[in-house]
């Protein structure tokens, strides 16, 4: 999320219209004086992206007990696939194709990596997924090159809205909306559907869930596919906000792990609360203590774990 931290006002993104308009009507950038509302919204944007990415990690960890270091790479591949398809068929098709491609990659990952390694020592799976991260980064470097790439938001979401005397890009509001939709959709799926019930049950007690007749292997494969698809979605919707580079998955992956651990391993609700919290503290850190911004989520995680060693919300809640 390099550009996020480098923009004049601490806001994520490089939406030209927004920048131009702000400079024309509001004078020079004022990092410290930026309205609190805008900073809060920026925090929500980052928190939303983190949630969409981290909830995939939570799903995969819950069902497969795998700490997936390759998840950041899936996010990065999603962004690149979105970039290529957007150039050919437009942004919306790009989102759909990226999610489908990453869902497919998730199925393959589960079949070839997670499932065969599920009874191995966790360190083996961690090393394998870390290796995958490196392989995927190199593959992307080979296919798309190492230069930064940018994606413009779709024309429908390219403008700005005026909020309390300052402007804010519509696209970033749309990202918040997308994260809320994902949160509501996942929550409804997990709470209201039979499959969601099995996912929640299997994430805390796969044996008992299997004993009731649920094929937990198939369920886990499905969930890994959904988690990977969400990483793809997160990568695609973040593409207009950041510069695409093969290493873009690394930094957000760390924050995603912080979200998962702070929220409580395997907790969907915890992931949402933690993502929003970390989005806010990360963004405030970028504005007020830019030198220590990347440390602040880690400090928050440590404080939460001292207070509640299991994270904010227990798994299954």
């Amino acid at each position: 999320m390099r550009l996020w931290e480098e923009t004049d006002d601490g806001a994520p993104g490089t939406v030209p219209e927004a920048t131009t308009e702000r400079r024309r009507y509001r004078g020079p950038p004022r990092r410290a004086a930026a309205p609190m509302l805008i900073q809060t919204l920026n925090g929500l944007v980052y928190g939303g992206l983190l949630y969409v990415l981290a909830v995939g990690l939570v799903l995969i960890f819950g069902l497969r007990r795998v700490v997936n270091f390759a998840h950041g790479s899936l996010y990065m591949v999603g962004a690149y696939v979105g970039y290529t398809v957007t150039a050919v068929a437009g942004f919306w098709v790009g989102i759909v194709v990226a999610v489908l491609v990453l869902t497919g990659i998730g199925v393959i990952l589960d079949r070839l990596v997670f499932r065969p390694l599920q009874d191995e020592d966790p360190i083996v799976t961690m090393l394998v997924t870390f290796g995958l991260l490196l392989v995927l980064e190199d593959a992307v470097r080979t296919i798309w090159g190492k230069d930064f790439l940018t994606v413009q938001p779709p024309p429908l979401l390219a403008g700005v809205v005026h909020l309390t005397g300052t402007s804010f890009p519509v696209y970033r509001l749309a990202v918040i909306g997308a994260a809320i939709l994902v949160a509501i959709g996942l929550s409804l799926w997990l709470r209201m559907s039979r499959v969601g019930l099995y996912v929640r049950a299997s994430s805390v007690d796969p044996l008992t869930t299997g004993m009731q007749g649920v094929d937990t292997e198939f369920l886990s494969a499905t969930v890994v596919a959904i988690g990977s698809g969400l990483a793809g979605l997160s990568g695609t919707i973040s593409a207009p906000l950041v510069a695409l580079s093969p290493s873009m998955g690394g930094s957000i992956l760390i924050d995603s792990f912080v979200v998962v651990v702070t929220g409580g391993l395997g907790s969907f609700t915890g992931a949402f609360i933690a993502a929003m919290l970390i989005g806010q503290v990360h963004n405030l850190g970028v504005v007020f203590v830019p030198g220590a911004a990347s440390m602040i989520p880690l400090v928050l995680m440590v404080l939460v774990l001292i207070w509640r060693p299991g994270g904010l919300v227990k798994a299954g809640a």
Binding site: A201, T208, M211, G316
Partner: protein, 231 residues
């Protein structure tokens, strides 16, 4: 019709052999007990049927069909529901959700969430409570209710009296006899002979991972019982 059969089964946890040449058979409508002290391998018989313990020799058949690869869900789909040791109420799920989970196998039959509530009215009053917040006796009712939601032909109960007050065990015995009377076969894995005596008609006696005696409960001598089971 034979609902469950183990023939000459050797079962292992990793490299440790727990069951030695175990053969057990339960037919439709039967009430059978597997008796034995702690640690003799009673639960391993259940775990072999659930794919938790690995079977290196012998054969397990559900509903008369031999199964080569046993997965956790295989028994449930063949009409065998398990009330596991320690109940294993799923944390984070309400009473109702735990029951709905039991219906995952989607077999047709008389048991629905309403009929389970008729059998255990106290569950109806606590539908939205976390299952793990119930008392031990109530959790046992929930575990049995969850198993019944699968409309099983055979109900396997692993140490159901563990940790329960005697008065609750009496109620449990009545419930199991009623279930058996309605045609559900019962496999009771227990060391509480009082419960076994009230429920089962046939027994297998397990010692050091091997069946050492089998027969009708009426013919089980006190001497054998004292030797192999705590009474």
């Amino acid at each position: 019709m034979t609902l469950l059969s183990l023939r000459n089964v050797d079962a292992y946890y990793g490299r440790a052999q727990i069951l030695h040449d175990v053969s057990v058979e339960i037919a439709a409508g039967e009430r059978v007990a597997i008796l034995g002290r702690n640690g003799v391998g009673k639960t391993t018989i259940v775990n072999a049927c659930l794919g938790v313990a690995s079977v290196h020799r012998g054969q397990i058949a559900f509903g008369g069909r031999a199964v080569s690869t046993i997965r956790h869900f295989t028994a449930a789909r063949a009409g065998i529901a398990v009330v596991p040791q320690g109940r294993r109420i799923v944390p984070g799920l309400t009473v109702k959700e735990n029951l709905l989970l039991g219906g995952a196998v989607n077999r047709k039959g008389a048991w629905t969430i309403d009929t389970v509530f008729e059998l255990f009215p106290m569950l109806r009053e606590r539908t939205e409570m976390a299952g793990t917040a119930l008392s031990g006796g109530q959790q046992q009712m929930l575990a049995i209710g969850r198993a019944l939601m699968a409309n099983p032909d055979l109900l396997v109960l692993d140490e159901p009296s563990e940790g329960l007050a005697p008065v609750i065990v009496d109620g449990l015995a009545d419930t199991l006899r009623d279930l058996a009377a309605s045609g559900t076969a019962i496999l009771l894995i227990e060391q509480n002979f009082g419960l076994v005596h009230r429920v089962a008609e046939r027994y297998y006696l397990l010692s050091k991972g091997a069946i050492v005696e089998t027969g009708w409960l009426a013919g089980l001598s006190m001497e054998t019982l004292k030797k192999h089971v705590a009474v």
